[in-house]
Each structure stands twice: as C-alpha cells, then as structure tokens.
C-alpha cells in the first residue's frame, strides 16, 4: 500500500529540525531511517500530516570519542554502528546486538536513535542501552536535556520524548576495566525480531565476578534490568554453578506478554536460559 499524503520537510541542522517539528502541527512525525515508520505508514496504521526527515542532518550522524564516553549520533545507521572502530573498541555489546537486527538492507537505513525512539519491546537496542547505562541527549524548543536510559523507556512504544522533541545523540559510558560482553537472542529463523534476548556485560576481578549488568529484551512493555541476577552475581565466583544459580532469578520482576510466538511462562524460562548463556560467555567461561 501507499502511505496517506503528507507534507515533507527536510531540515539540515538540529535547530531546523526542532523548528520544523514545532511548525508541523499536531500530527507531525519525525523520520529517521524510516524502517519502522514507512511500514506503518504503508499499512495506514500511521498517517502523519507532516513528516520531518532527519536524513540530511549531518550533525546527528557518526560516532565520537569524548574521553570516558562514546557519543553516537542518533542518525548513525545500524550498518555504520557495526563497522565503527570506536564502537568495536568501547561498546562492543552495541555492535554485537546490532548485527542481529533485521537484515542487511534494513540495517543500511535503520538508525541507532530511531530504534531507541521507537521503543519496540522486541527491539534489540533498548535493552543494550539500558544495560550500558547510556544517556539520551534530547533537543526541544526549550533547549537540550539529558535523560538516563532507565527513565527514557516509559511503556510499549513510548518514551519520555515530548511531542516537540528530537533525540539527538546517545552518550555511552566506556566500560573501564576487564569487561566481557554478550548478546544472546532467541528468534524465529524467518523473523529477526527477538522473542526474548539478553544483553550482558560482566567485569571480572581476580577470578570472580565484580559486577554484572544485564538487560532484558521483550520481557515487558519496556526493556528491563535483571536486577536480582545482577545482585546475586556481584562478588560471586566466576564458575558455571554460581552463574547458573544467579540466572534462575533473571525473570524476577518482569511482566512478559503472551503472543503467537510464546507464552509468558515460556519467556520467563527463556530469560533464565539466555541469561545463563550470556553471562557465561561474557565472563569468558
């Protein structure tokens, strides 16, 4: 199908984009890579009156090093994230998860910021941003503000972004020390979307686990941290038994949905199994 008619605006700076959104009326929609937005517009599930295309806003694209933090422009495509040497060095978990997103064509257009702003519970990157304690830099008519990932995701397909706001860039703290990472994903072969996935970063110190950060994909309307497992792993021995024991609490506090792909209790089971695998791999065992 063909989308309903809309006005099209193509700003070239963040300021112009914020202004275009402000002037776009009630049904204005920002377009990043369009890989989620165009499909819903084709199905007429969305029919914005104005589309503000961020595709030519050069300042929103690319990755830079700011000392302890890696800054990823919201318009950096999935393919660019995967190929970026800074991401490979300082935020490999993002690259690993992004490699599992969609397919090669979709990764050429879809963006890191778009995937976060879209906030699909089955999307792979929100849980990774949450596990890495990333921060979202958001621009609006009143200026810029920074939102931690744990406050950014509010509900199913809903973030803290206000109507007039644009996600500009994502600040990812570099992992300092001896960290290992792993993204473990369970999906159907013909569909890349996660049924459940687990993002793990583990810091080892003197043979034990000093710290573990675990993000869960599709275990509720927003991405979640497996807090009980994280607590059980802090200071635990880096052994398969200790990890298996800690992983048993991975689904605590989650509220997964039941759908055609999986029932809630099956998702809880998957969360435990995938957490065990992800932490084991991230711990280098």
């Amino acid at each position: 199908m063909i989308p309903a008619a809309f006005e099209y605006v193509r700003p070239t700076t963040v300021d112009e984009a914020v202004q275009a959104v402000a002037e776009g009326g009630e049904d204005v929609k920002v377009m990043a890579g369009g890989q989620s937005l165009i499909p819903v517009m084709r199905l007429r599930l969305a029919a914005p009156s104005t589309v503000v295309d961020l595709g030519r806003v050069a300042e929103m694209r690319g990755v830079r090093d700011e000392g302890d933090v890696l800054v990823i422009g919201a318009m950096t495509t999935h393919a660019e994230v995967i190929a970026d040497p800074l991401v490979a060095q300082h935020a490999r978990l993002i690259a690993e998860a992004t490699e599992t997103v969609a397919d090669r064509q979709t990764r050429r257009r879809g963006t890191f910021g778009g995937a976060l702003a879209h906030a699909d519970p089955a999307g792979d990157l929100p849980a990774v941003a949450l596990a890495l304690d990333a921060e979202m830099v958001v621009a609006g008519p009143g200026g810029r503000r920074t939102v931690p990932a744990r406050d950014f995701f509010v509900d199913y397909l809903t973030t803290t972004l206000d109507e007039g706001e644009v996600l500009v860039e994502i600040r990812v703290p570099k992992l300092a020390g001896q960290w290992g990472v792993r993204y473990e994903k369970f999906n159907r072969v013909a569909q890349a979307w996660s049924i459940v996935a687990v993002a793990a970063a583990v810091r080892r110190e003197n043979g034990s686990i000093a710290e573990a950060r675990i993000g869960l994909t599709n275990m509720g309307p927003t991405p979640l941290r497996a807090s009980a497992t994280e607590a059980a792993l802090a200071g635990a021995g880096a052994s398969p038994d200790a990890i298996a024991a800690a992983a048993r609490s991975a689904a605590e506090g989650t509220s997964p949905s039941s759908d055609l792909n999986a029932q809630a209790d099956y998702r809880e089971h998957l969360a435990q199994v995938l957490t065990r695998r992800a932490v084991t791999a991230a711990a280098g065992l």
Binding site: M1, I2, P3, A4, A5, F6, E7, Y8, R10, G34, Q35, I38, P39, M41, R42, L43, V51, D53, G55, A79, A102, D103, R104, Q105, T106, R108, R109, A190, A192
Partner: protein, 165 residues
Amino acid sequence: MARVSMRVDGVTYTDEVEPRTLLVHHLREALGKVGTVVGCDTSNCGSCTVHLDGQAVKSCTVLAVQADGAEVTTIEGIAAPGGALHPVQKAFHEMHGLQCGFCTPGMIMASIDLLKDNPRPSEHEIREGIEGNLCRCTGYQNIVRAVQQAAGEMSGTTDTLGAQA
C-alpha cells in the same frame, strides 16, 4: 509535489513527485524500471532491493524524495553495456538459482552487495547475507550455490566488480 532528481542505471531523471511516493513505485511507474518488483506490504520480502548510493536497500521502504540527488542501481543496470550478464546474474542462471523468478532481482542485488563487503563468504555468511530476501520456490539451496559460484568467479577479478559498480 517535490522536485526529485536521481541517477538511475546511469541516466539522470528529474521529476515532480508526491512525497508519499515510494522509491519502488517511482522506479516502476514513472521511470519504467519494472525489473524491480514489489512482493509484500511489510518490508519483509526483499524483492524490491536496489542499490542506493552503492548500498542495498528495500526500495519499498524508502521514499522517492529521500533518494533525491542519489545514484540508484536496479537489476536493469548491472549487465555490461553490451548486454553480457553480471557474474551474479550468470551464476543464478547456470546454477538454477530461480524458479518463478519473482525474488530474483532482489536476491541478485542483495548478493552483489554482500560480495562487495565479503568477496569469499562461507555458506553460513551467504544465508545470513540474504536473510532479508524471501524465496517461495527454490528452498534457497541453489541460490546459495549461485552466490558461491559468483564469488569464485569474481574474487581476484576486482575489475569485473569495479566495472559493474
């Protein structure tokens, strides 16, 4: 309406298009490039794959206005000027990489993109590389063989690749 200019298969076209026009519809209906087909409404099948500034994209999930100023290559633009088939086209033909042929333009455009990044992919890498393309006929086996054969023929002969790009 928006004025949109793009180079498609080596020829520059300037047209007035509605912003909601999908690139694939612009290619097929305004420019007559009917070699690129539409197989779904959900961005899943990949049959509409073209190269946008040298990168494989699903042309049903790009607006024509977004391709303003871009270079587009479709299945109709990859054979040599004299008509000799691109090595990937030739390999699909020789290895029976198609039955009804509906998925073939997209499969070939995705495969060329894959081989540019990874000139000697393993069987697994080929299957992953074309995961965005669905085929209802072949069971993929001969498609994978065709890509393997093309990789063999093209590797080392960067000339062929360069000439077609």
